[in-house]
């Protein structure tokens, strides 16, 4: 990452310590884009939102054994206004589809979507009248996670992939 830290005595690019031993506050230089991306990528807050079986694995991922807090995503927010990440964890029915669309619209930018599991990715085993064949029919999906249900490790891999994606975003993630 292109963030440079230093102290006034050492000059902008020469230093390696943000806080020099003499007590001066120090300073950091970075490209705004990268600094913002760095902050965003390390605090992806998911929405407290579960649909079906995958939601239970999502809870397991948040519990002590797997501990999603290691990736800065332990703050599950109940309000879409405060969430960055929508994890669609389960099958999306026709009746639920407009509701999910509305929840996604209520989330403030920047926002990302993980389609967790086969059902959210492509309908899974439920190719029938009731289930929408993949949530990507109505939302832009950033990462797809295969598995029925995916293990918590698979969800972490997806979050890691999403962090990579966020870090590489240009123009502060403004989409035209």
């Amino acid at each position: 990452m292109g963030v440079a830290v230093g102290s006034p005595q050492q000059g902008a690019l020469g230093g390696t310590q943000a806080h020099a031993k003499d007590g001066s506050a120090g300073f950091a230089l970075a490209k705004l884009e990268e600094l913002v991306n760095w902050g965003r990528a390390n605090s992806v807050w998911p929405l407290t939102f579960g649909l079906a079986c995958c939601a239970i694995e999502q809870i397991s991922a948040a519990a002590s054994r797997f501990d999603i807090a290691r990736f800065g995503s332990e703050v599950f927010r109940a309000s879409p206004r405060q969430a960055d990440l929508l994890i669609v964890s389960g099958r999306v029915s026709n009746k639920m589809a407009p509701v999910i669309k509305r929840i996604y619209d209520q989330m403030s930018d920047p926002k990302w979507v993980i389609a967790m599991g086969d059902c959210a990715s492509c309908g899974g085993p439920f190719n029938n009248y009731a289930i929408v064949q993949g949530v990507d029919k109505m939302l832009p999906v950033d990462v797809y996670v295969p598995g029925c249900p995916p293990r918590p490790e698979a969800l972490f891999y997806a979050i890691d992939k999403l962090r990579e994606k966020i870090k590489a975003e240009e123009k502060l993630g403004v989409r035209e």
């Binding site: 079906a52 389960g90 639920m96 407009p98 509305r102 929840i103 492509c122 085993p125 439920f126 190719n127």
Partner: protein
């Protein structure tokens, strides 16, 4: 005892009983549609019958069977005092057809009609609504005949045989903007499904209507509760379901019998083993297969482990809902659940969607380290079980949030068709493992915990004691289990061993037949119930002699139990509604199916 009832019935209503039959221990009575209500109230109130628990109502579309009339309604009844099941089948007269239409109800044609039994068994309310929604049979004098699973503006009735399975192709291509794929995604309804109708008796002017869900952290899934409030007091709760309706029954009717097993996992996804067990028991009942004793013991051990795991989810989320209790409780619960999932992973490779039981036995033999792993788990769990008690049982916050909240008395519970821990917490010691033991549950010494307080705290104590009893059952089972074959020797059901295929022509043929065609159960109708952690999971199967079930019915215990929300929550505070939902222990996958 059913002979006596049939005798009495014919004496009292000579024209009502058209036929009666026995198949695999199920008694079926064919009742005339005109006299359904008379017969129903007789069966409910007569002292020799006392069929006080209406287990299930489901419709049948006999279009492809060539029988007339086309529709029939099945009523599964159970008598708690007499411990007896009975099934009523009512042929629904065909509606008049206007101008040669197909009678499918798609364009406002009349639907077939039958009398409602809601006033005899209040639990019929939702079951009849579901039958109306999915099968298109109308129930006269029903309090609110309205769709329950599908959106209000849905056209048609999906479980009818002339209604296609639906679905659309899925292309795994990167290009979203390709016009080739423009026709996809048309299943999504245009209208906003969250603005559905409310019952007429709801006072939307004088009272405030608060919409809890479908996305709410405390509803345990996608459930919507339209709550009518007078200040902070709950006047009426109207649950709105169907946000996770996945068409399990229709899917099952388009799959071979054994291929539905993986689907059961995804119904009540916190207790897949119990679901598998209930389903394979239903198919085994239909086919009359003998199961080796070793298999029965393994099934009991795994089912009881799953019961503990399911109760762990209940306890964790319930404690989280109550909120005032230490937030550590869910983490402690999930830790023990993880241990059980490790055992499942060892057994079948999957944490949650196990599909380990197959018709006729188990999918694979148990791994060698299984018994030691279960013993180690029991030892560890005993300590944690003690911790849960220390954390919650006498915790003043826990007591004040649960004691005297959400009262559901025995007679109300029975009328609403409640089963499982909710019914036992109301003082009715009804546990299928005890009253009609399946597998080898009669070999074990265990108690059925009950309570007479009938409140949320009683449901907590009953479930906690069930955890203890499950531990006892598992301990006894691992002491008593003996090695043996892991599936039945009946080659018409279970695959022959690999080495036999290379030596015996007959085995090769069986193998080929089973893999390409599946097994062919005899024609008939069965209904089989398993005692799940949440209540009775019922499977109804109607076979027409082919490899696919003609009609597959699933009775989800959460679906029926959820109907008690209004009874339990009205008159209380809105904050107690949350703890009540937690104490019912629902899983939306099973509610909506």
């Amino acid at each position: 005892m059913t002979e006596k009832i049939i005798e009495k019935l014919t004496a009292k209503f000579p024209a009502a009983l058209k036929d009666h039959s026995e198949f695999r221990g199920d008694t079926t009575l064919k009742i005339d549609a005109e006299q359904l209500r008379d017969v129903a109230s007789f069966l409910e109130s007569d002292e020799d019958a006392q069929y006080n628990l209406l287990v299930d109502i489901y419709g049948t579309d006999r279009l492809n069977l060539g029988q007339t009339p086309r529709f029939a309604v099945n009523y599964e009844l159970y008598s708690i005092p007499k411990n007896s099941f009975i099934r009523l089948i009512v042929d629904v007269p065909d509606p008049g057809r206007n101008g040669g239409t197909d009678g499918s109800g798609r364009f406002g044609e009349p639907l077939p009609k039958v009398a409602s039994v809601t006033d005899i068994w209040p639990t019929a309310n939702w079951l009849e609504r579901e039958t109306y929604d999915l099968m298109g049979i109308e129930f006269e004098n029903h309090p609110w005949m309205h769709r329950i699973m599908m959106p209000d503006n849905w056209v048609g009735h999906p479980l009818r045989k002339d209604y296609p399975l639906g679905g659309e192709p899925v292309y795994f291509e990167k290009d979203r903007n390709n016009p080739r794929f423009a026709h996809l995604g048309k299943q999504i309804m245009a209208g906003p499904s969250f603005e559905t109708e409310l019952p007429e008796e709801m006072d939307t002017n004088g009272h405030m209507v608060l919409n809890l869900g479908p996305h709410h952290p405390a509803t345990h899934g996608v459930l919507r509760l339209a709550t009518e409030l007078d200040g902070e007091k709950v006047v009426r709760v109207t649950p709105e379901l169907g946000y996770l309706h996945s068409g399990f029954e229709k899917t099952g009717e388009n799959k071979r019998y054994e291929k539905f097993i993986p689907y059961c996992d995804r119904m009540d996804y916190v207790s897949p083993m119990n679901n598998n067990l209930a389903y394979v028991m239903a198919v085994e009942k239909l086919m009359d297969v003998d199961i080796p004793e070793h298999v029965q013991y393994v099934r009991v051990i795994l089912a009881e482990l799953q019961r503990i795991a399911s109760h762990m989810i209940w306890l964790g989320t319930h404690a989280m809902d109550v909120g005032g209790t230490p937030h550590a409780a869910p983490l402690y619960c999930f830790m023990m659940r993880e241990r059980i999932l490790d055992i499942f992973e060892m057994v079948c490779g999957a944490r949650m969607t196990t599909s380990y039981f197959s018709v006729g036995g188990l999918r694979w033999p148990l791994p060698g380290a299984f018994m030691d792993a279960v013993r180690a788990f029991l030892k560890e769990f005993a300590g944690y079980y003690h911790d849960y008690h220390v954390m919650l049982t006498k915790n003043p916050l826990w007591l004040s949030r649960l004691k005297g909240i959400g009262i559901l008395k025995a007679e109300e519970a029975i009328a609403l068709g409640i089963t499982g821990p909710l019914l036992r917490a109301a003082g009715v010691p009804l546990d299928l493992r005890k009253v009609r033991p399946y597998c080898v549950y009669d070999q074990f010494d265990f108690e059925v915990p009950t309570s007479t307080d009938a409140d949320s705290y009683a449901r907590y104590t009953v479930r906690m004691e069930e955890l203890h009893q499950s531990m006892r059952i598992i301990e006894q089972a691992i002491d008593q289990i003996k090695p043996g074959p892991y599936r039945t020797a009946d080659r018409k059901v279970a695959l022959p061993p690999r080495q036999e295929i290379s030596t015996s022509m007959e085995s090769l043929i069986h193998h080929f037949k089973l893999v390409t065609e599946g097994y062919l159960p005899p024609e008939g109708q069965v209904y089989s119930i398993g005692e799940n952690p949440k209540g009775w999971l019922g499977f109804g199967l109607i076979s027409d002699g082919t490899a696919k079930p003609y009609r597959l019915r699933v009775r989800g215990p959460s679906f029926v139990n959820l109907q008690a929300t209004n009874t339990m929550a009205r008159g209380g505070f809105i904050s107690d509604l949350i703890t009540i939902i937690g104490s019912i222990d629902i899983v939306l996958g099973e509610v909506d199916r």
